[in-house]
Structure formats: C-alpha cells, structure tokens
C-alpha cells in the first residue's frame, strides 16, 4: 500500500511537471485554437460564440489555395537547394581531418546562437540597393546602376536556404559519419571508381539522412513568415504571413485558427513520414 503510494509519488514527481508544462502551453492553447476555428468572427475583431463551419469552407477559396501552393512550392525549392548545397557540405565535414571536425560543426552551428531576425537584417544590409554588394559591384564596374536584389523572390529563397541549411546538413552529416569505411573500400576493391562508389554505395546508404534532412528543412520552412516579410517585402503571401495577418492585422481569428490547424495537420503527416524513415534506418 505504502509502496504503491510511493511509486505514484515518484511518477508524479518525475513525469508530473512535464505533463503540466505540456498541458499549460501546448494542449490548452491547441484546444483553444481548435475551438475558435468553429466560431464566428465579430465586427470588432473578436469572436462570437456561434458555431459555424464557414471558416473551413473558406479554405476552398482560390486565393487561399494559391497561398498554400505558393508556400509548398517555396518550401520545396528551399529543401532542394538546401540538399544540393548541404550534401557536399556534410560530406566535407564528415571526411575532414579529425582535429578539424569540431571546428567545422561549430561554424555550422554558430548562426543558431544568434537571433534569426538579426541575421536576416544582416542579409538586408548586404542586398539592398545601397547595400555592400551593390556598392562593390558598381565600384568594380560590373554594373552602372544598383541591382534590384532585395525584395525579390530570389531574396526570399536565399534567406530561407540560409536559415534552414543547418537543419539539412546535420542529419546528413550523421548518416555519412555512420558509414562503415570498409564498405567504401570493398566497393573500390570490387572495381568501382569514385563516381560509382558514390552512386552505388554512399548515396543509397545515406538516403535516411537525406530524408530526415529534407523533412527537417521542409517542415519549419512552411511556417517561416518573417523572412518573406523582411526579404520579400511581403509581395508574395505565404501561409506563415497569412496566419500572422489573420491574427494581427485582419483580426479574423477564426480563419487564422483554421489556417493554423491545416498547417499543423500537414506537419503531423510529414512527422509521421519522418518517424517511419527513422525506423527504417534502424533496420539497416
């Protein structure tokens, strides 16, 4: 009797705070958001307690569909570029001399420890018409008028890739590190040149890392709104911006809630995929 009470106290003491924290900051807000998504917005920007499904119906309006498609497309572009840049990057780090490795990983992680807003402002000062790059190009004489770089779709893409690259590199790096070097020797021994060693052995065996890296890049890229705000001049609307606007400017909370829920659902599906790939990797 006493023993089981103690046991319960133990469970409460260890798991309790976590459960409490999750309930207060995750479960309750989530239930709140789900609740709001079924309510009606009132003229003053608040909500009326009248049940409706019209918020969900408005998802099928073409302008929202376009926002979703634009967002998915941007995220896809970001992920692909991150992979193309990140894979060689990860490969170089994984194969660097031992004493250099921690330093290279540190360089990769360093931007994480500074505020992402500030880092994005950094790009601003580089790219704008009176920015460093334009000054330099004019000084060298490559162009006689400042180039329009900031507030373009390209700038948004650049900002996204910059912010998310570490998320791609780290899982790939891990899977390259895990490669048994004798497998590469075996492939060479059996007649494979460098290209075939890569395509027939390294690439398939690091596929789990590529998958994990892609999903870890794709998911956060869907929700980033400040990069398109700051570097795209809010010309193109993405999911993140749309949600932010519904809550802050348009004050249509029910619609914002619906959009948030859709984003969460997409994320959950991708997370499910991610864990599946993870368990596949364990099997190998």
């Amino acid at each position: 009797m006493i023993k089981s009470f103690r046991k319960r106290l133990g469970i409460l003491g260890t798991v309790g705070p976590t459960v409490l924290w999750l309930a207060a900051f995750l479960m309750i807000p989530l239930i709140y958001v789900i609740g709001i998504s079924f309510l009606t917005k009132n003229v003053y920007g608040g909500v009326d307690f009248t049940f409706t499904l019209s918020n969900y119906a408005s998802l099928f309006q073409s302008e929202y569909a376009k926002v979703f498609l634009d967002s998915l497309w941007l995220s896809l572009e970001t992920t692909v570029i991150c992979l193309l840049v990140g894979y060689p990057f990860a490969y170089i780090i994984a194969n660097a001399p031992k004493k250099w490795k921690p330093f290279l990983v540190l360089l990769l992680m360093l931007p994480f420890w500074t505020n992402s807003l500030i880092r994005t402002y950094g790009w601003n000062t580089l790219l704008r018409t009176e920015g460093i790059i334009n000054h330099f190009l004019q000084w060298v004489g490559l162009t006689d008028h400042p180039l329009e770089m900031l507030y373009t779709d390209g700038a948004v893409l650049l900002g996204m890739v910059y912010a998310l690259l570490p998320f791609t590199v780290l899982p790939i790096h891990t899977s390259i590190e895990k490669l048994d070097p004798s497998l590469l020797e075996a492939a060479g021994d059996l007649g494979a040149g460098r290209v075939h060693v890569f395509t027939r052995v390294i690439l398939p065996l690091t596929m789990p890392g590529i998958f994990a890296g892609s999903i870890q890049t794709f998911i956060p890229s869907l929700g980033f709104f400040f990069i398109s705000d700051m570097m795209g001049g809010a010309k193109t609307m993405y999911i993140g911006n749309l949600i932010k606007n519904q809550f802050l400017s348009a004050r249509n909370w029910p619609l914002g809630a619906v959009l948030s829920i859709v984003l969460i659902v997409i994320t959950l599906i991708l997370m499910r995929l991610y864990t599946k790939v993870g368990s596949l990797e364990d099997m190998a």
Partner: protein
C-alpha cells in the same frame, strides 16, 4: 599442383610502411607464387594486415615496391588491381541482397546481365548458399555472411584473393569447418590466396607456406613443416605451437657435434657451424621432450616432475629445472606416469632439437661476415 608453382605472382621489394612516427612494416621482401596458399601469421600489430592492405591498394608503401605479375602497382588504385579482398568484418553492402552483393563487381565490369546471373548462381552454389539469393545481410548468420563475402570476391575471378582474418568472428566449430572449406575451394579454383591470421593452428592447417611476422619484420617464410620443425628464430619457435626454449652456450665442439651448457645441465647435439662460447637457444617441442629415470648418454640434464595434466589423448608433464624454469613434456595417455616429485633425466631424440642463434648473435654474425668481405677486398687492393 606443386609443379605449376614456379611463377611469381606478387613480389614485395624492400617495402616499408610508416604511420606518422610508427614504422609498422620494415623492409619486407617476399615473393608469392601463383596458385599457392600463403598465410601471413603474427600477433596483432605485427604489420600483417597493413601488408595485405598495401597489396590490395588501400595503403601505399612509404618506400619500396610491390609488383603484381611483374608490374609495379604503385600508381594503381584498388579498383584497377586484379586482386579482391575478403574483409574481416565481411563489409557486405547492407542495402543489397545476397545476389546483388555478389553481382557488384560484375556489374562494375559491365558483364552482360544473363552472364552475371549465371556466374552469380554458380558462385552461390559453390559456397552453398542456394535459396538465400534474396536475403539481406542483416538477416544472415556470421557463417553465411562469410560465404557471401567470399563469393563476392571470387566471382570476379581475381588473380589473387586476399583474406583478412576472415574467420575471426566465427565460433570454433564453424571456424574449423570453414578452414577446410576454404582450403578445398582454393585447391579447386587454383587461385592464389593470401591469408592473414593470428591463429597459428589455422595457419598450419591451411597453408602451403607461412610467412611469420613480428613487429614489422618478416621472421621466417616456409612450409608449415619447416616453420614447425625448424624455426629460425626464438619468436617463431615460441609463436608456432608449444615449445620448450632453453638458453645455453657452446662449451665444446668436436667434428660433428657441439656441447651446449645450460644453467641447469649439459647436452651433446649433432650440429655444426657454431663458434665456441656462442649463445644459443635450444628449442624442443613438448612431444619430443623425453623423461627417464635412468641416465641417458650425451645428457646431464635433470629436473623434478611437478605436475601431470590429462588432456584426452595425451598427458602433459611439467618438469621444473633447478633454475626454476618449467619444461613441458607430452606423452601418450596410455604410457605409465612418473610420480610427481621424482627427479628425472631430461633428454630428446637426436634430430628433435632446434639450435637457434640469439638475436644478438645473428647481428654479430652479419657484422663479422661483412668485416670479412671488407678484409678480402682490402687484401685485393693492397
């Protein structure tokens, strides 16, 4: 088989290998003949695996040359060498099934699809893996993986097969079985095998010739019989099989025999070619060490029986010499045992002892010879 063994397929000339400051292989000279089963034997860290890796092309010699069929392979990468390796940990591709693993090399060589199928299937039969073509490496036992690794290398019909402790991870029974299978396979295919192991019994069972290595040096190369019965150095005598090694010096010489004086006694041995007072090691295998209660002609060498150990078909008898050294003698189990505590005469049959120069004496001899040569040329000059 033996008569075809006259063509050298691999030769190592003054091969030296250092990793940073450590010299792991020291001026190795070795010739490997076509079709032979050569085992590189030595304790871990003796440089045998490094030597194998240099032949495969995974490492390059710091100095010296390696010739494959007469061609210097210095600039050749592993994929350009006509040798294949069976790795210690098998190194099977985990994302490919048995068939694709074995077919890997043939696909690289751009062999036609139906020929690949034919050759892989033939190999699968040869290593008795029928029906497992679709298995993934993670679903196989150590012994099965081993067979896949061997098949994957042999399917390419290499001139030389390199095996790096391929049986190390298997249990004793399976290892014994695979030893026999590998030997049969090698005989049947006539491919040169270079086999690396630290297991002396394995080396004795399988090899045509054994190259014993120690601390980067090649100690001795020879047939298992030569290595076992006529070890050239103390290390070889000690490492291969069990040995009683007794230190002594040459006190007398007359015609065809020498008298060796040891701390614990004297013995007369039919040997020539030594110097008076030269330090030597006597090496006697336990099965050749005899014990008698009566005195034996030519020996004044006594010890006390300390212990009998029964090991199935034989008895091991431990004899302690006056200086404390323990000798081991083996007798058939049915022989009568000498009671523990008895003082016995220790002897051996003529020809069953190996006299070895100590390392210092060997160096001394080399110096002496070179001085003699210099002396001769000096005579000729003046």
């Amino acid at each position: 088989m033996k008569q075809t063994r006259d063509k050298v397929i691999i030769s190592l000339k003054d091969v030296d290998k250092s990793f940073e400051d450590e010299r792991v292989v020291k001026r190795l000279n070795l010739e490997i003949e076509e079709g032979e089963f050569l085992t590189m034997l030595g304790p871990s860290g003796c440089g045998k695996t490094t030597t194998l890796r240099m032949i495969a092309g995974f490492e390059y010699p710091t100095s010296g040359q390696i010739f494959l069929e007469g061609m210097d392979v210095e600039s050749k990468k592993p994929n350009e060498r006509d040798v294949n390796t069976v790795f210690q940990n098998y190194a099977l591709f985990p994302h490919m099934n048995v068939f694709d693993n074995i077919a890997f090399g043939l696909v690289e060589k751009k062999v036609k699809k139906d020929e690949i199928r034919r050759r892989v299937e033939e190999m699968i039969k040869l290593v008795r893996l029928d029906g497992l073509e679709k298995r993934m490496p993670s679903q196989m036992s150590g012994g099965q993986k081993q067979r896949v690794a061997i098949a994957r290398a042999l399917v390419n019909r290499p001139r030389v097969l390199l095996l790096d402790e391929p049986l190390g991870a298997l249990d004793l029974k399976l290892r014994k079985q695979m030893q026999v299978e590998l030997k049969h396979l090698q005989r049947r295919l006539g491919i040169t095998f270079i086999y690396v192991t630290h297991d002396q019994e394995e080396a004795l069972t399988m090899s045509d010739r054994i190259a014993v290595m120690n601390q980067g040096n090649l100690e001795q190369v020879g047939t298992p019989e030569e290595i076992y019965n006529h070890p050239k150095t103390k290390f070889v005598a000690d490492f291969i099989g069990e040995s009683n090694i007794i230190e002594g010096y040459i006190e007398e010489m007359d015609g065809d025999s020498i008298q060796v004086t040891m701390e614990s006694g004297k013995a007369r041995i039919h040997e020539t070619g030594y110097r008076l007072e030269e330090m030597v090691y006597l090496c006697v295998r336990p099965e050749n060490l005899k014990l008698a209660t009566d005195s034996v002609e030519g020996f004044r060498f006594r010890g006390q029986v300390r212990e009998h150990i029964f090991v199935g078909s034989i008895n091991k008898t431990m004899v302690e010499l006056p200086n404390g050294q323990m000798l081991k003698a083996e007798t058939p189990a049915e022989d009568e045992l000498i009671p523990v505590g008895t003082v016995v005469n220790v002897y051996w049959n003529p020809g069953k002892v190996v006299v070895m120069r100590t390392a210092e004496e060997q160096i001394y001899n080399v110096i002496e010879q070179s001085v003699e040569i210099e002396g001769m040329t000096n005579d000729q000059i003046f």
